[in-house]
């Protein structure tokens, strides 16, 4: 599923060259639920950007679904993101001026799915996160938990190979966090591959496998 080998990524901050990822190697198999945990500044955001095809590594190889992610143009990366990855962000990242329904519909529009099919799949995705009744509401009219559920619906609607969640509970209270985590468990049960990035041990522990990241280096802790 995800096959990362000796991945390196550098940043230049002022005159200093910072190594955000240092020969990172890991494998994630289909239908896994994996947490990547690390303190801030550990390089986990960089790793998530690379896994999510939002950025490319400076060295090393990354195979997603057997496809090597390198030397792609921005447009090809956009297409890969659209088809293979569903993002769930800490700050929900919904488009404020659009209703829940339209937010969920957007990835399908970019994929070029026809209108009738879009409506069917949007309705289905919203039902899976239990927000059918809130379909017409704008994000500002929804609670944090509901907004995150809309974001999950948006990630699900394209039937991605991988759901990539970046601190999905970071902006939520513990009760709503539990609800969202329950939703990830349910999704895992239904056969989705989930990679969850967090700094919170309690959240990370809910996954079947935990990968630690510190100073750009990965180490695995099996439970």
């Amino acid at each position: 599923m995800i096959d990362i080998q000796d991945l390196c990524k550098f940043y230049t901050v002022g005159d200093e060259r910072v190594r955000a990822l240092d020969h990172a190697t890991m494998h994630i198999y289909p239908h896994e639920f994996v947490s990547i945990i690390g303190p801030s500044g550990s390089g986990k955001s960089t790793l998530m950007n690379i896994i999510g095809c939002l950025d490319v590594a400076d060295a090393g190889s990354y195979l997603l679904d057997g496809i090597p992610i390198e030397d792609y143009t921005d447009n090809e990366l956009a297409r890969i993101r659209n088809e293979k990855i569903g993002f769930v962000f800490q700050s929900f990242n919904l488009i404020a001026k659009m209703s829940a329904e339209e937010n969920v519909e957007l990835p399908l529009i970019y994929r070029g799915v026809g209108k009738a099919e879009r409506q069917r799949r949007v309705a289905e995705a919203l039902e899976r996160v239990g927000l059918t009744k809130r379909a017409k509401h704008q994000p500002t009219e929804l609670s944090g938990g509901q907004q995150q559920r809309v974001a999950i619906a948006r990630a699900l609607v394209t039937k991605p190979s991988l759901i990539l969640a970046d601190e999905p509970t970071g902006n939520l209270d513990s009760k709503t966090s539990a609800e969202i985590m329950g939703m990830f468990h349910a999704l895992h049960e239904q056969g989705n591959t989930i990679v969850l990035i967090t700094h919170d041990n309690d959240v990370a522990r809910q996954a079947r496998r935990i990968i630690h990241i510190r100073d750009g280096k990965l180490s695995e802790v099996s439970l």
Binding site: L54, L94, A96
Partner: protein, 395 residues
């Protein structure tokens, strides 16, 4: 379709700003459409006035007859021979002193025939014009211009009065109406009288059987240009192929001059209005740049979930073009209102101010062009953003 809806929505989300942005375009469109329509309205009413007053008249002047003088019979023969020619009439002028009672003044006298009033588009307000009997029997009759009648004699109803021209008594048989033909009013500022050509021969020593100047009109359904061609050919043949021996001039020249002046005016005013449209376009670009910066995060989200370079470019370009088109539509509506008001105000001037179709087309086309040209830079800036940079913008 989807992009269009998104563009409308995002413009609608900030109506006040959109309106202010469009203001430049609105003003530009109004300036363009109103100015050009006004110029065109004024032009068409003036051209109508010109063409109603004997513009199908050709004036021929012969300076060297090569020993083969034109006489009245030849003129009549040409009228019958040449299909394109409608009417012919001699038109020789002489300056004489006109006298009525104790008042005297200088006159321009036209020695001509019965067809002249039709050719030159003269209109009578009193009496009749010359007829063929007057020409055949060199009758001493004259038709006075309105000005000559009112100023020299003192009233228009002067048919039957006697006017002395260079000492010869002429009976007034008709008076022209006030709106003289533009051609005559241009030629002479003073008093004008029309007398039979044969009578002028007796009045002036320089006028003989040989007609040196005559006017021609086109036959029904024939164009002036065609007559000019036929006539030139005939004259060349007669005057030993010497094109310096004669000249043929038409009133079309005046019309042409006029239309070139007005079209230049249109272009000039249109150009000024075009500049204000370009300024409006810069306003659009400015706001689009602000919008792109404000929506950096949205762009990041869209890119993360799979928007390509082209999709983002299209989105922002559509927004800029829609903004321009909305401004254009409002501008055209305002122009229409202004022109309607102008038409009401100017209704007494017999000018028609209507929305000029081609100008509206140009305005719409120009607005699309401006939307594209000035929208391209901001849209491209949005499309080129890196998804991670955009996503992490402003937290």
């Amino acid at each position: 379709m989807m992009t269009l809806r998104m563009a409308l929505r995002s413009i609608g989300a900030n109506k006040m700003r959109a309106l202010l942005t469009m203001l430049g375009i609105i003003i530009g469109v109004v300036a363009l459409v109103v100015l050009v329509s006004l110029v065109n309205g004024a032009t068409s009413s003036v051209t109508n006035a010109v063409s109603s007053l004997g513009t199908d008249m050709l004036t021929v002047t012969i300076s060297d007859d090569k020993g083969l003088p034109m006489d009245l019979e030849t003129l009549a023969k040409w009228r019958d021979e040449l299909g394109a020619v409608g009417l012919t009439a001699p038109s020789t002028t002489a300056s004489v002193t006109g006298k009525y009672g104790s008042d005297s003044d200088s006159f321009t006298v036209y020695g001509t025939s019965e067809a002249y009033d039709d050719i030159a588009g003269l209109k009578l307000c009193m009496g009749r014009f010359l007829n063929s009997a007057d020409v055949d029997s060199h009758t001493r009759v004259c038709v006075l211009s309105y000005k000559a009648a009112t100023e020299l004699i003192g009233y228009t109803d002067c048919v039957g009065e006697q006017v002395s021209l260079n000492g010869m008594k002429f009976t007034v048989i008709g008076v022209l109406s006030d709106s003289e033909s533009i051609t005559t009013s241009m030629r002479s500022s003073g008093y004008t009288a029309y007398i039979p050509y044969t009578s002028l021969m007796r009045l002036s020593d320089s006028v003989t059987e040989a007609v040196t100047s005559f006017v021609v009109s086109a036959a029904e359904g024939r164009s002036v240009d065609e007559v000019e061609l036929v006539l030139t050919e005939k004259l060349m043949e007669r005057l030993e192929q010497d094109d310096d021996a004669f000249s043929v001039s038409s009133m079309n020249i005046m019309e042409d001059a006029m239309s070139s002046i007005t079209s230049m005016l249109s272009i000039l005013l249109g150009g000024i209005a075009g500049i204000s449209l370009v300024v409006g376009g810069i306003g659009i670009m400015n706001i689009m740049l602000v919008t792109v910066t404000e929506r950096t995060r949205e762009i990041g989200i869209r890119k993360a979930i799979g928007a390509t370079h082209g999709a983002i470019l299209r989105q922002f370009l559509t927004e800029a073009v829609v903004l321009c088109m909305l401004g254009c539509a409002i501008g055209i509506f305002l122009s229409w209102t202004i022109l309607r008001m102008a038409a009401v105000i100017a209704s007494g001037l017999s000018m028609s101010f209507t929305l000029n179709g081609p100008v509206v087309g140009i305005a719409v086309g120009f607005c699309i062009l401006i939307g594209v040209v000035f929208g391209l830079y901001p849209a491209n800036k949005a499309a080129k953003m890196k998804p991670i940079d955009a996503l992490h913008y402003g937290g």
